[in-house]
């Protein structure tokens, strides 16, 4: 902490000094955060606060609408704009949506695909990135890197039609197929995110292990992979949100109705719901709830993970 002080302003140095005397304070992270807040000597900007608060309503209003509509009776809904609070709270909508969309099956499929894709992506894409990052001076690895990067610019529609033929020929028109596709398609972006980080890890760390006779694989799993934790979080979050919410890939790849994912189930039952908005909204809420709940509890962590990915 004292080494960082000279590079910052004199106020920072003073606060750092203060902090050091006050050793009974909480964990270092909290202290640092508090110091950053103290450092911000600006006055509270009430205009910005008001504007940000009002604009944040645009985010919350659709969610509010989803909640109140899902709790109404059809008659209740027909008599108003949808925004009024329900006169009677009709929880039965959720039960009906649960049955009609076969919710347990859909969420099990989505969870299986998402967890599978995240685990496989973290285990495989990090290995590929490691090999590329450590050999970027070799033409083969450099070529692979730019090949994957170029693929980022290929839009999905060109792949879509032939891919469906391919997956159904191979018997991969199911959940397993989707896990493989998310893992493989994610490679482009993830290698980009991982390699920049791996190259910042000093090679001396590995050499110590190599001198002790560890193989390259061993070096990766026991030295490098644990150090990748922040990037694993970033890649994991991006992959999780993508796989959970994706609509077009399950739509074109999956052939068995029993394999359908949550977004796909909403799409398929949309026709039946047409006039039954209250049940439909209960179903939408149930589809959105799992990720939303995870997000509410891991919010700070999710946002910092995404930010880290964007600065690379």
């Amino acid at each position: 902490m004292t080494t960082a002080a000279p590079t910052t302003t004199s106020t920072a140095a003073m606060i750092a000094l203060d902090d050091e005397i006050d050793t009974t304070e909480g964990p270092a992270a909290r202290r640092r955060r508090r110091r950053a807040e103290q450092l911000d000597t600006r006055k509270i900007n009430w205009w910005a606060t008001a504007l940000i608060a009002v604009c944040s309503l645009t985010v919350l209003i659709p969610l509010y609408l989803a909640v109140v509509v899902s709790l109404k009776t059809p008659d209740d809904l027909a008599s108003g704009t949808g925004f009024e609070l329900p006169t009677t709270w009709d929880w039965a909508n959720f039960g009906e949506a649960w049955e009609r969309t076969n919710f347990p099956q859909a969420i099990a499929n989505t969870a299986f695909i998402t967890v599978g894709a995240v685990v496989l992506t973290l285990l495989s894409n990090s290995v590929v990135s490691y090999a590329i990052a450590r050999n970027i001076h070799r033409p083969f690895f450099k070529g692979v890197f730019f090949y994957l990067l170029a693929a980022l610019f290929i839009p999905f529609p060109i792949i879509m039609l032939p891919l469906v033929k391919q997956t159904s020929l191979l018997g991969l028109d199911n959940q397993t197929g989707l896990i493989i596709l998310y893992t493989v398609f994610g490679l482009s972006l993830n290698v980009f995110i991982y390699t920049a980080y791996i190259r910042s890890i000093p090679i001396e760390l590995e050499e110590a292990a190599r001198v002790d006779g560890a193989s390259t694989w061993r070096v990766f799993w026991s030295v490098i992979f644990p150090l990748l934790a922040p990037m694993n979080a970033t890649v994991g979050i991006l992959t999780c949100v993508w796989a959970w919410n994706d609509f077009i890939l399950p739509l074109v790849v999956l052939s068995d109705p029993a394999a359908r994912t949550l977004p796909l189930a909403q799409y398929i039952f949309q026709g039946q719901f047409n006039t039954d908005y209250t049940v439909a909204f209960a179903s939408y809420l149930m589809a959105m709830a799992p990720l939303l709940l995870i997000y509410v509890f891991a919010q700070r962590w999710v946002i910092s993970g995404v930010m880290r990915g964007s600065i690379k």
């Binding site: 977004p263 959105m288 964007s310």
Partner: protein, 313 residues
């Protein structure tokens, strides 16, 4: 390919290791090389198989009359010729571009403004930042259905005096695209805000202190300090947004399903419908090939223009 080059490279490395003492480190790396190839090659083979092969197959079939089933023949470039005379395809390009340009500009302007607000000293900053990021974790299709109800059932009752909104904007061929833009901006702004916020936090506060001592107002500070310093984030955000919005699919399916008529049919939706349901496999792959070229050209142009502007500062 990898297997034939491997022994040679490893052999050379170990010979060098014997020659000079400093090559010890190098020989260790040389022995490690096969493992590095084993780490990359299987993944690249899979990537080529699931990503590049479909592209090549698509290009191949775009010169045929394959319907998606049955026999096919080579028909040269007539798919491409027909595409340029196909009103439906041209309309899809018109819609996708109009939508993508409007959504890109709005998303970036709004996201930048909100990021600036969140970067100012405000009350409960972390809470608000958390709220603005919520749309990112929601499925576009599912949120889209909520918006669909809002546009078709709530808005006409809430604002009966505004002509376009009074009778369901989604069934209005001239204005339905606006509703799709609203959903797209609502959802995409979340991610852009976080990217801009990351950019804003890289700017040292001292710069603003110095500027305000020199008497620069808020607007001047933005145009002379903030914007130039985050212009790399601006460029990448603009390019990624436009590329993403040009491929719009979920939004359209949820709100209008391409309607009324084909007024809001995007290119991706057209390729999906024609390719899977209309027996136009070859024809729509030709469409997709053109789409790839269009997107690549647009992205590169955008990069050049925006980066030149970056250099001007």
């Amino acid at each position: 390919m990898a297997t034939t080059t491997l022994p040679d490279v490893a052999g050379r490395a170990s010979r060098k290791g014997v020659d000079d003492g400093a090559g010890k480190r190098r020989s260790a790396l040389g022995r490690a090389l096969p493992a590095y190839y084993w780490m990359v090659v299987p993944a690249i083979v899979l990537f080529a198989f699931f990503h590049t092969l479909p592209v090549l197959v698509g290009v191949f079939f775009s010169f045929t009359n394959y319907a998606g089933y049955g026999a096919w023949d080579f028909i040269g470039i007539s798919n491409y010729v027909n595409l340029f005379q196909d009103d439906r395809a041209l309309r899809a390009y018109g819609f996708s571009f109009g939508f993508a340009i409007a959504a890109t500009i709005l998303t970036n302007v709004i996201a930048l403004l909100i990021a600036l607000g969140l970067n100012a000293k405000i009350v409960a900053r972390n809470t608000f930042r958390g709220v603005y990021f919520v749309p990112y974790v929601l499925a576009i299709l599912v949120v889209g259905y909520v918006f669909q109800f809002f546009f078709s059932n709530s808005l006409p009752k809430l604002l009966p005096s505004i002509p376009v909104l009074a009778d369901n904007i989604l069934s209005n061929p001239d204005w339905a695209w606006v509703a799709i833009v609203v959903l797209a901006v609502w959802q995409a702004a979340a991610f852009s805000i976080i990217i801009y916020l990351a950019g804003l936090q890289t700017i040292p506060a001292e710069l603003y202190e110095a500027a305000s001592l020199d008497g620069a107002g808020a607007l001047q500070q933005f145009s002379r300090i903030t914007f130039p310093l985050i212009s790399a984030f601006f460029t990448i955000n603009m390019v990624l947004s436009l590329k993403g919005f040009l491929q719009v699919f979920d939004h359209v399916v949820a709100l209008t399903n391409g309607g009324p008529g084909t007024a809001t049919e995007s290119i991706t939706l057209l390729i999906y419908r024609g390719g899977f349901q209309g027996g136009e496999f070859a024809y729509q792959t030709a469409n997709a090939v053109i789409f790839v070229i269009v997107i690549t050209v647009v992205s590169l142009l955008q990069f050049r223009v925006l980066q030149r502007r970056e250099a001007d500062f």
